[in-house]
Amino acid sequence: MTETWQEVSGSVLRTALVVGVATGTYGLSFGALATSSGLTVTQACALSVLTFTGGSQFALIGVIAAGGNVASGSASAILLGARNLLYGARLAAPLQLTGWRRLVGAHVVIDESTAVALAAEDRGDRAARLGFWATGLAVFALWNLATLIGAIAGTAIGDPRDYGLDAAVPAAFIALVAPRLRTLPAWLTAAAAAAVALAVVPAVPSGVPVLLAALVPVFAVLVFKERAQ
């Protein structure tokens, strides 16, 4: 039974929209926190439009709110963006972006677009490309709209947690990664990466646990290579 492109694209677009709504809504929290940290509404919106990677944005306003050194705040925010580099390296082959599409596409290389693209990749590179663009644009539109609303309304608009979105977002990522966990190395890598990240949460700043988990596949490949010989 082969799926038609209409079925594939419909399914991929629905996934992109759900992910866009679930994570984009967190822009409400970002906007409210940014203005209560001393940013103007324009500055909060500029961060969401121009930086457009949640972890780095929250890190920067955290430093500004604490009255910390803004230059080192920028440096650590950029460091947290390094995981997008790793996503880009993995996505380059299926996406095959060139010219202006690569310059525009780079801006939406984030957790969500990567997760949906990789989940769709089993249905072909065309599905992966649709998942990447649809999710990137859905999250971009909703994250920025929500940032504006949150920045203006502050905490008056409820909390995303009231709707269970703090559970919906990790559940969405798990569902998107699940199809990739069919091999033992992939399964062990995911479990070890989660364990490493949780183990270092109390010891390092927000965002760093996920980056440290990037070391797990490096070790995994070296170990399985030894065993294969």
């Binding site: 803004v70 996503y87 490949v221």
Partner: protein, 100 residues
């Protein structure tokens, strides 16, 4: 000062995203690099989901989120569609929170 930080952070984050897409294909096709690159998003996204499910700042906390995520995983194991998994997780967490 704040504007400078916003612009520098944005430029840095954009260049990192672009750099990933520009990594030379030949370099990525080396066997060891290719195997690491294939596993990297799995590791990052699994770690991200774990941190989102358990962390509050620098503390690990078991709360309504975990009930929601667990319910989502059960739905996933029963091969529920993506939309159902996400709604089950959200609904369970919201319900547990409302009851608690």
């Amino acid at each position: 000062m704040t504007w400078a930080a916003i612009l520098v952070t944005s430029a840095g984050c954009y260049l990192l995203k672009l750099a990933g897409l520009l990594v030379p294909r030949a370099w990525l096709e080396q066997p060891v690099v290719a195997r690491v690159a294939a596993l990297l998003p799995i590791a990052l996204l699994a770690a991200l989901a774990a941190v989102q499910a358990f962390a509050v700042g620098s503390r690990l906390v078991l709360d309504a989120r975990l009930a929601g995520v667990a319910a989502g995983v059960v739905a996933l194991l029963f091969r529920a569609p993506f939309l159902v998994v996400v709604f089950v997780a959200a609904g369970t967490a919201a319900a547990v929170r409302a009851l608690g």
